[in-house]
Chain length 162, copies 2
């Protein structure tokens, strides 16, 4: 019998070759770049690019594509992080459900260290942040305390290099 799916292997991740890496880097910068252009750039056929991309979708390396929106151009001037402490660790699922219902919460992390939950917020202005914090977040009964980090600028924004 063959048991090659070693899920308990410490190195359980996909190995990719150099062409795969180049394709991923290119698609990180522009997900709509024609495969024919990548083919020319990397000295292979467009069909090969197509095959590589499909395989990486299959294996889960590629999770999808998305357009990047500029929050400020849409009127979302404020970015901040909020560290949340819960009254009891078991309240985590209930609090998460309430946070998920707030459109301004764009990311949430379950963390060790100073906070139980750590979230990223985008809102229109400081007033909107104030109202969100007081009326929506601190109103969640299972939350014991919050701490806000206001982001003034984001000088680095990128993905890992494959």
């Amino acid at each position: 019998m063959n048991h090659q799916n070693a899920v308990e292997n410490e190195h359980d991740f996909q190995r990719i070759d150099n062409l795969d890496k180049q394709v991923l880097v290119a698609l990180q910068h522009n997900a709509r770049v024609p495969y024919a252009e990548l083919a020319k750039r990397f000295g292979v056929s467009a069909a090969t690019i197509h095959v590589r991309v499909e395989k990486m979708k299959q294996t889960g390396i590629i999770n999808g594509t998305q357009v990047l929106l500029d929050p400020k151009a849409l009127g979302y001037q404020v970015c901040c992080f909020i560290g949340i402490n819960l009254k009891a660790a078991g309240d985590y699922p209930a609090v998460l459900a309430k946070l998920e219902a707030l459109a301004e919460v764009t990311e949430a992390y379950y963390t060790t260290g100073h906070y139980s939950i750590f979230i990223k917020i985008r809102c229109r202005n400081i007033d909107a942040l104030h109202r969100l914090l007081v009326d929506q977040i601190q109103a969640i009964t299972q939350i014991q305390s919050t701490e806000t980090l206001l982001s003034l600028s984001q000088p680095i924004s990128r993905q890992i290099t494959p």
Copy 2:
């Protein structure tokens, strides 16, 4: 004289209509979806979708497109945030330049509150994180102290709703 470029206007952002919003939401989920399909879905022509997308690129609402990679599938098991305090506020540019040179630093924020700089890290495992922290980050002389928040999971990950 006409002075319509009110950069000091508190509402200085692009107004978009309902079709624009629908297109953006669709492209947030799949940046490669054919315009013809969106056209059918929203009851307009493919040419209209094309015009709308081009306009939103022009006005800066659309910043580009990117493929989403699964860090774990590529062997990056660990995600964490590090809060950094500097010895002097003026050291900010020098420290930022050094952080930018570290591929594991995927995001950096200039923040008010407990930390001067707040960064997000992706690395292969805890050992790699340990080495990065001690050998690369705490070795930056302008850094006074660091605080690490390890992320155990990320239950929410999305962009703002246009």
